[in-house]
Structure formats: structure tokens, C-alpha cells
């Protein structure tokens, strides 16, 4: 079954490649606008070998992880407090629902003015983008912890602290992980967009935007591929593994996709 689905995926990608190649070589558009797969592959290999791709990736990862960890460190506690205490919920609830629909990238010009061009503005942007999904999901998770579990723990004499560590936190974890996942996806979007606008000199978003100036479509496509692969790797490997090791193993989530 697994082999078959891999085979199917490969066929599909091969078909897509063939269509692209036909389009690129048909002469409808200039080769500078739609480079052939060979050119994209060559650009990719060249960038890997010269180390520039690695350096761009490291810069981007540094920014995204810094902002993302900060968002988790702020968002999870706020979400837990909102789920546990009515007052906190009443205070932060309206703020979150007003701030969340504002696209993080709308803040870029403001952040550039406040923090200057470069790392600080991009990290602030990632932080803004990633915090709200964490808060909302953690909050929902804490509220949806089975009342019966809390009551039975209390009946067995659990104090506030044990209740929190043994029941509330593990009970809310599937939601927290879902929130972190969602917020990483948003952070990834924000970092690429932020790098394009808050121009620095390194970063995957920056290199795509910069290659536009020189019509280096092959470099753009190669960097796009890198962005897609890293995003997919985080989604599948990091979060997928974490989910399997914790809530999947505890039997709280049934279908954990690999």
C-alpha cells in the first residue's frame, strides 16, 4: 500500500514535470520567464554547492524559529490562563478576536519604522503572525478538557498543581500541538513575506525577490522549491513526530498521518 502510494506520487510529479517542460520548451514564453527543469535543477545544485542556499536557509530558519519560540512562550501561557480564569478570558478574548484577522504583513511597514530593516522587524512579524493561533487553540484545548477527568482527579485528592500537570496540560495538548502547527505555517508565510519587504541581504524570501530584478527565474524556482521542501519537512517530520510521540502514543488522537 505504502509503495503504491509513493509510486502514485512519483507518477503525478513526473507528469507535472513533463507538462512544465513542454510548456517551457514550447517557445510560448521566453526561456528567461519559464526556465526548463534542467536550468532550475542546475541553479539549485549551483546554489547548494556554493553554500549560498544553505546560508539563505539558515538566516530564514533563525528568524522563523526565534519568532516562533517567542510566540509559543507567550501564547501557551496566555491561552492556558484564558482557559482557566474567566477574568483573563474576558480581557484577552476581545483583543485576540480583533487583532487576529489583521494580516501580519500589514504591520511590516510599521515594524520597519519601529525596528529598522533587518532581523528585528522580521522576527517581530513572525511573532505577530504565530502568537494568535497558539493562544486560540490552547484556550480551546483547556476549555475542552473533559469535565469528568477533572472531577475524578479532584475526587482522588489532586491539588491544583497536580491537576494542572497531570490533567489539564496533557488533556489540552492535542489542541496545543494543532495550534503550534498552524502557527508555524503562518510564521513560515510571514518570514518569506517579511524578507521580501523588509529587505535584508540574506534569506530565502529575499533571494526570490532579489532575483526578480535580474530576471533569474531559475534561481527563483530553485528557492521556491527549497521553501516548499522545508515547510513540508517541518510539517511532516517535526510536528508529525512530536504528535506521534505524545498524544498519538497516549491514544488521544486516532489518525496521525505520517
Amino acid at each position: 500500500m505504502r509503495v503504491r502510494s509513493t509510486l502514485g506520487a512519483l507518477t503525478s510529479i513526473a507528469v507535472a514535470c513533463a507538462v512544465w517542460e513542454g510548456f517551457a520548451r514550447s517557445g510560448f514564453v521566453a526561456p528567461a520567464l519559464a526556465p526548463s527543469l534542467e536550468a532550475i535543477g542546475a541553479a539549485f545544485v549551483r546554489m547548494v554547492l556554493s553554500g549560498t542556499l544553505l546560508r539563505h536557509t539558515l538566516y530564514t530558519l533563525y528568524r522563523v524559529l526565534f519568532g516562533f519560540v517567542l510566540a509559543g512562550a507567550v501564547g501557551v501561557p496566555i491561552g492556558i490562563l484564558m482557559g482557566r480564569f474567566r477574568r483573563v478570558e474576558r480581557f484577552f478574548g476581545p483583543l485576540v478576536s480583533v487583532l487576529m484577522p489583521i494580516p501580519s504583513l500589514a504591520w511590516v511597514p510599521v515594524f520597519i519604522l519601529w525596528f529598522g530593516l533587518g532581523n528585528a522587524a522580521t522576527i517581530a512579524l513572525v511573532f505577530y503572525a504565530a502568537t494568535f493561533p497558539v493562544i486560540v487553540n490552547t484556550w480551546t484545548g483547556v476549555r475542552s478538557v473533559n469535565r469528568l477527568w477533572i472531577r475524578s482527579a479532584e475526587a482522588m485528592g489532586a491539588d491544583e498543581r497536580a491537576l494542572f500537570h497531570k490533567v489539564v496540560l496533557p488533556g489540552a495538548l492535542p489542541f496545543v500541538i494543532a495550534g503550534l502547527r498552524q502557527s508555524f505555517a503562518r510564521a513560515w508565510i510571514a518570514v518569506v513575506g517579511g524578507e521580501m519587504i523588509a529587505a535584508t541581504s540574506w534569506g530565502l524570501g529575499w533571494v526570490i525577490f532579489d532575483s526578480k530584478e535580474f530576471l533569474r527565474t531559475d534561481v527563483m524556482m530553485a528557492s521556491l522549491a527549497a521553501i516548499g521542501m522545508i515547510g513540508l519537512a517541518f510539517e511532516r517530520l517535526v510536528f508529525g513526530t512530536f504528535e506521534r510521540r505524545t498524544v498519538g502514543r497516549w491514544g488521544m488522537v486516532k489518525a496521525v498521518r505520517g
Partner: protein, 257 residues
């Protein structure tokens, strides 16, 4: 009278606190007032720009672009999603490509779209459609797959033809998922649109307004623009989609509010 006031005051309280903090930071913080304007300055800019018609015009052109782009994304997304859910070949062919394309931020394609379609409205609208199509395809596909086999068999044994099967069973059955997909799609479209307006230099639009205001250090205009973006986003979520859900799937008893 008092009863009506209490929840209002409760909802307003956090904003008042944030306003006071903002004001204190503007007055005593490290930033010069040009970079971190006081609350009344932002408010005045908001009123001034609304009265002179600048904000409404920008907001309107952004919303028009959103509607156009989202329509493209929604039609393409639902069509592909249903095809993938119903036909094995379409599923095998498209699913891997779409799951690869989904995690790539839509905005990353912006420079490519600019090279292909030039500056202005065309790449902005197309990119919005492109970015919003992914979650719509995936949700529609899941929805079609999640339709109970027994409904289809029951309809077939009652003599439903292919067309009736589609209109009476498949489409309504998949609708809760499709609506979720459209909701995620419109949120994505909104995010991409604001950013892409900064990059493709459209003539009118909220993203462009904010980005242009930076050149002149008009922080108050930028923050007023952000406020409008937030209001429109909130309105999309609360008014449009919750209504749509209440009128369809909740009413049919397929989903709880």
C-alpha cells in the same frame, strides 16, 4: 438600560486598557511621536481619511480585488476538489502536486507572477485566487470523500441518476467541508492580498496605502489603514461566513453552531 450597558463596557474594557498603555508609551516611550503617534492622532487621521473619501476608495478597491481573486480560487478549487473526490485518476494525478504546493506561502510566488503578468491588478488578483485555491481543493476533496457511502447507495437504489446524485447528495453532503475550506481560503486570500498590494504597486488599495505612507513617515495613516484592514477581516469572518453557515449546513442539521 443598565443591562445593555454592562456587556458593552465589558467588551470595551480591554481596548481602553490597551489604549491607555499605548498612550503612555507614546508619551513617555523611547520613540519620537512621528514614529509612535498618540491615540488621538491615529483617530484624527482615521476620521480625516474617511471623511475625504480616501480610506473608503482604497478599501473598496481592495475588497473588489479580494472578491474577484477569491471567486477564481473558489470556482477552481471546488471543481478540482470534487473531481478529485469522485475520480480516482484525478486524485492520483493532482493530490501529490497539491500537497506539495500547499505549504509554499502564496506570497513566495509573487515575484514570479510579477514577471509573468506584469505589475498592477492582474498578478494581484491571480495570486489571490491561486493562494486561496489550495485549502479549498483539499477541503472539498475531503468532504466528497467523507460522504457516507450509505447515502449514495440509498439514492442509487431509489433510482437517482448521476446528475441528481451530484446535486442532491454529493454537493450538499460535502458542503460543511467546502464551507470550511472557503473560510480558510478567504482568510488566506485576505492575507496574501494585503501583502501583494505592497509588492505589485497597484494604484489603489489598503496594502499600498500603508506601504506608501511609510515613505512619508505617516505612521498615523499606516495605523488607520491597519485598523480598516482589521475591521474588514473581522466583518468577513463574522458577518459573511457565520451567516452563510447558519443559513445552510446548520439549518439542515449537519453541523452545530
Amino acid at each position: 438600560m443598565r443591562r445593555a450597558l454592562v456587556p458593552f463596557a465589558e467588551a470595551a474594557f480591554p481596548f481602553v486598557v490597551v489604549g491607555i498603555l499605548w498612550q503612555a508609551f507614546a508619551l513617555f516611550g523611547p520613540f519620537p511621536p512621528k514614529l509612535f503617534p498618540q491615540v488621538q492622532t491615529i483617530f484624527a487621521a482615521f476620521i480625516r481619511l474617511t471623511a475625504s473619501g480616501i480610506l473608503p476608495v482604497h478599501a473598496l478597491s481592495t475588497i473588489l480585488r479580494l472578491i474577484l481573486g477569491f471567486l477564481i480560487g473558489a470556482v477552481a478549487g471546488v471543481a478540482f476538489g470534487i473531481a478529485m473526490g469522485r475520480y480516482r485518476l484525478a486524485e492520483n494525478l493532482l493530490l501529490p502536486i497539491i500537497s506539495l504546493g500547499n505549504p509554499i506561502p502564496g506570497l513566495a510566488y509573487a515575484p514570479l507572477f510579477v514577471i509573468w503578468f506584469g505589475l498592477g491588478n492582474v498578478p494581484a488578483v491571480l495570486l489571490v485566487g491561486f493562494a486561496s485555491a489550495f485549502p479549498i481543493v483539499l477541503n472539498t476533496w475531503t468532504g466528497v470523500k467523507a460522504i457516507k457511502e450509505i447515502w449514495i447507495r440509498a439514492a442509487e437504489s431509489l433510482g437517482a441518476r448521476d446528475r441528481q446524485l451530484f446535486w442532491k447528495i454529493v454537493l450538499p453532503g460535502a458542503l460543511p467541508y467546502i464551507l470550511t475550506g472557503l473560510r480558510i481560503g478567504v482568510a488566506r486570500a485576505w492575507r496574501v492580498l494585503v501583502a501583494v498590494e505592497m509588492l505589485t504597486s497597484v494604484r489603489l488599495g489598503l496594502g499600498w496605502l500603508i506601504f506608501g505612507a511609510r515613505e512619508f513617515l505617516n505612521t498615523d495613516v499606516m495605523l488607520a489603514g491597519i485598523a480598516v484592514i482589521g475591521i474588514v477581516g473581522l466583518a468577513l469572518e463574522k458577518l459573511v461566513f457565520q451567516k452563510l453557515e447558519a443559513l445552510t449546513v446548520v439549518r439542515w442539521g449537519m453541523m452545530e453552531q
